[in-house]
Amino acid sequence: MSKSAMPSAVHPSVLARLAAIVGPQYVLTGASATLVYDCDGYTLERQSPAAVVLPGSGAEVAQVVRVLHEAGIPFVPRGAGTSLSGAAVPSPEAVVISLARMNRILEVDLRNRRAVVEPGVVNAWITRAVAPQGYQYAPDPSSQGACTIGGNVGTNAGGPHTLKYGVTVNHILGLELVLPDGQVVAMGGPVEDLPGYDLVGLVTGHEGTLGIVTKIVVRLVREPEGCRTLLAVFDSVDDATRTVSQIIEEGIVPAALEMMDNLVIQAVEEAFQFGFPTDAAAVLIIEVDGLEAGLDEQAGAAARICRANRAREIRAARTEDERRRLWAARKKAFGALGRLAPSYVTQDGVVPRTRLPEILAFIGEVGRRYRLRIANVFHAGDGNIHPILLYDERDPDEVRRVILASDEILNACIDMGGSVTGEHGVGIEKVRHMERMFAPADLEAMLDVRAVFNPKGLCNPGKIFPSPGGCVELQRPRRAAPA
């Protein structure tokens, strides 16, 4: 147990019990040891936990939870801490349970297309483990090199290729869950469609509010035989978004359909020198995959639609290396934006795909009205927008305008029949938006579910749901981190 000047809010006898379970070196207390646990990828709110525990197995998680439950101490599960909504931000009296040590792939069964993994396994590791045999784990969030499967289950994470392959919940077959009182339950499993309520589907996306996931059965899919990746360059955002709608409308099902606007193109080009045209208003990355026998036809059809919508140039990735670099540039776009402004905040709204031209035009108008630069890089095929509002935190008036503009954009998403979060989760960031999206009865039903799993509210309190009477204040944005 690390020594600290300040006593932990957790009673020493509890800390001793935790240390006895996981080993003293895996219980951290004190400001310096717990500093990195004070926030996740959503950095607007920071709070050091009372302690951090790093269990090494599901059994240890269960024992730790039992101790905390008995002591009435709240706890917060944490994977890699890449959440963009503050799902892993602790309250001051809470203990963070880090699952980072539980990072083994326990079993791979290609014939039945599944793998059993621990929650701390990094998303990309699974595909890396099965790619030599021609398989993959399909959901690919941009942070897949760092984010963990446990966290993906928590947020029901998406990614560029979810357009064709679906989001996390479509790829989870079974879970082992430590309930907030320490009981361990297995739900779903390697076999599909087991009788009973679909608890796996219910728990996926729970943001840690229903328990702590300690084992996951994931679905594997056959890697497509081939793919074609196109980069289409447009002189107007409107032409690009119309192209997106039309591709979907004409029955092409791309594996991915991503858009970057001029600000993002500039930042990415500066960072990666991929060869993006920095004067373009927007580019689309269009990928089709499947049997080689059908790829040129599909890619040709997509290209025709681009041209019909005045694409000024269409490039095809000629080599696998070129394709990889294109995707690397896209997935690291958020990081590259740091070059454009001291701070930025990323939003995660969703609109019906046909409303993309409208919401993009609206975002442009909001930017002009609030005198803000807003960059757009997003999953266009899904209607999942990620407007990135650039600002300088030393300018309080600009900060105020960022908050107002963000809110206007999210409200517009709701008004268009969309959502305030497509893949980042509610966390603490969007708690106050839940009441705008849902009626009280809708939220009551969800709280009924939470009450069954987490009756004392000890497991990840303060997330997703507005607490009665307590209205979360508008937060002051600082630096926001990548998707």
Binding site: P190, V191, E192, D193, G196, A293, A445, M446
Partner: protein, 462 residues
């Protein structure tokens, strides 16, 4: 067996809630569930009146069974109580359909066929093909989590679900999810109601991700026992003969075929095993070029697998793979899932790589017991549907118990989808109760504290 309480006492308030013309007495045959006759049938014309009906039933502890197309009413345990058959057929509208968004919002009482017709006008479809057919309603398909051969390529219906409206037992209308294809705001309540047999609420509306209809479809039929008794006759799962004449299944050969087809670059959208006599129906969808390639590849692969198992000379010679038109193959697969044997239907769940072994074991057991049998399996999903013909009750019971244990060995389970009412109380209708039953019961307590929704019909007597 039916116990019809006094109808007059409940008639007036229900007529007030739903409208007089939407309440009628129950037909003792057509409206009964497992022989239990409801006191009244209520068919509310809209969501608001359906909510009023449920609120009334909640207050007065009247047991309710929601009904859509009535195609799967045999699923589940015997109703513990049954006062009101709640016909959802009055809610049969498309609420919102924007073809360019590939999403559709539809009321739960709409029949699948009617929805497909509308989607088809825009070259789209909801890729579900329940054996019960186009007469099944959207709500019924969701409540029973029904699936068909197309799940192999397009996933389960639950994977298409984006949002849902549900009337809770107490009449509160609750919405979850939305109309967009990605949405993680709050719990995925739609998932909870999918497959819940209406025991947590009555589904009144759902939004789905629809699919552009692929331009080309193709299929391959692989006959595994072509040299056997069945060689000469037109094979049809629907009219599958009793086991007597069919040669035993070569489970190793079948498994080798399934493994090869599932590992191939051309991924099937349908992979059904049916019999006896055993045959495999493999379906593909995509562009003309893709389908032509896939069909050829599957034929070649079947021949190669058969050659590789050449040591077992009998079966190698017997394997015959040939392209067949998609509608014919798909229709045959659906017919085999529906079955034509009158008595019992059991669904066995196991890992995909055990499907061949399960079929072989089931066949051997049925033959030994002298019970006529037929089967159809979604090979990729590990679902084997077994139809049994007439036999002594004890024989049926012992076969089912045996197969439950068989599935259990591999982490699977079993569901009795249809059985004579008299037999049900002695059958493990929902197989082995899951270890999470206590959580399921707690959810039921929260959502339906008076147990008015389908009491006794779901897992663990929920």
């Amino acid at each position: 067996m039916a116990e019809a309480g006094p109808v007059a006492s409940i008639l007036q308030p229900l007529m007030a809630a739903a409208g007089a013309q939407h309440v009628r007495p129950a037909d003792p045959t057509a409206d009964a569930i497992d022989g239990v006759v409801p006191r009244l049938v209520v068919a509310p014309p809209d969501e608001a009146s359906l909510a009023r009906v449920l609120a009334h039933c909640h207050r007065h502890r009247l047991a309710v069974a929601p009904r859509g197309g009535g195609t799967q009413l045999g699923l589940g345990g015997m109703p513990e109580r049954l006062d009101i058959l709640l016909d959802v057929g009055g809610l049969a509208r498309i609420v919102h359909y924007e073809p360019a968004d590939l999403t559709v919002t539809v009321q739960a009482g709409m029949r699948l066929g009617d929805l497909q017709a509308e989607l088809g006008r825009h070259g789209q479809f909801l890729p579900v093909d329940p054996p019960a057919g186009d007469g099944a309603t959207i709500g019924g398909l969701l409540a029973t989590a029904a699936s068909g051969p197309l799940r192999t390529g397009f996933g389960h219906l639950r994977d298409r679900l984006l949002g849902m409206r549900v009337v809770r037992a107490d009449g509160r209308v609750v919405r979850s999810g939305g109309r967009v294809v990605k949405n993680v705001a709050g719990y995925d309540m739609g998932r909870l109601h999918t497959g819940a047999l209406g025991t947590l609420g009555v589904i009144v509306e759902a939004t789905f991700k629809v699919q552009p209809r692929p331009p080309a479809w193709g299929a391959v039929r692989v006959q595994l026992d072509a040299s056997g008794e069945g060689a000469g006759m037109a094979p049809s799962g629907a009219s599958a003969a009793p086991a007597a004449g069919a040669p035993p299944l070569d489970a190793d050969l079948l498994e080798a075929l399934l493994a090869a087809l599932l590992d191939a670059p051309a991924q099937p959208v349908m992979l059904e095993v049916l019999g006896p006599p055993a045959q495999l129906l493999v379906g593909f969808a995509g562009t003309q070029g893709e389908v032509a390639f896939a069909v050829q590849q599957a034929c070649r692969m079947a021949a190669a697998v058969a050659d590789a198992s050449g040591a077992r000379a009998r079966t190698a010679a017997a394997v015959k793979a040939e392209p067949v038109p998609w509608p014919k193959a798909h229709g045959q697969a659906l017919a085999a899932h529906r079955g034509s044997l009158p008595s019992l239907t059991v669904r066995l769940h196991g890992p995909s790589d055990r499907v061949a072994a399960v079929i072989a074991q089931v066949g051997a057991d049925a033959a030994a017991a002298g019970v006529p049998w037929a089967y159809a399996a979604h090979a990729a999903a590990g679902v084997v549907r077994v139809h049994l013909g007439q036999g002594p009750a004890e024989t049926h019971q012992s076969l089912i118990q045996r197969w439950l244990a068989l599935c259990g060995q591999w982490g699977g389970n079993l569901v009795v989808e249809a059985a004579p009412a008299a037999l049900k109380p002695s059958l493990p209708v929902w197989g082995q109760p899951p270890s999470t039953l206590f959580l399921m019961r707690a959810l039921k307590d929260k959502f339906d504290p008076h147990r008015i929704l389908n009491p006794g019909r779901f897992v663990g007597g929920i």
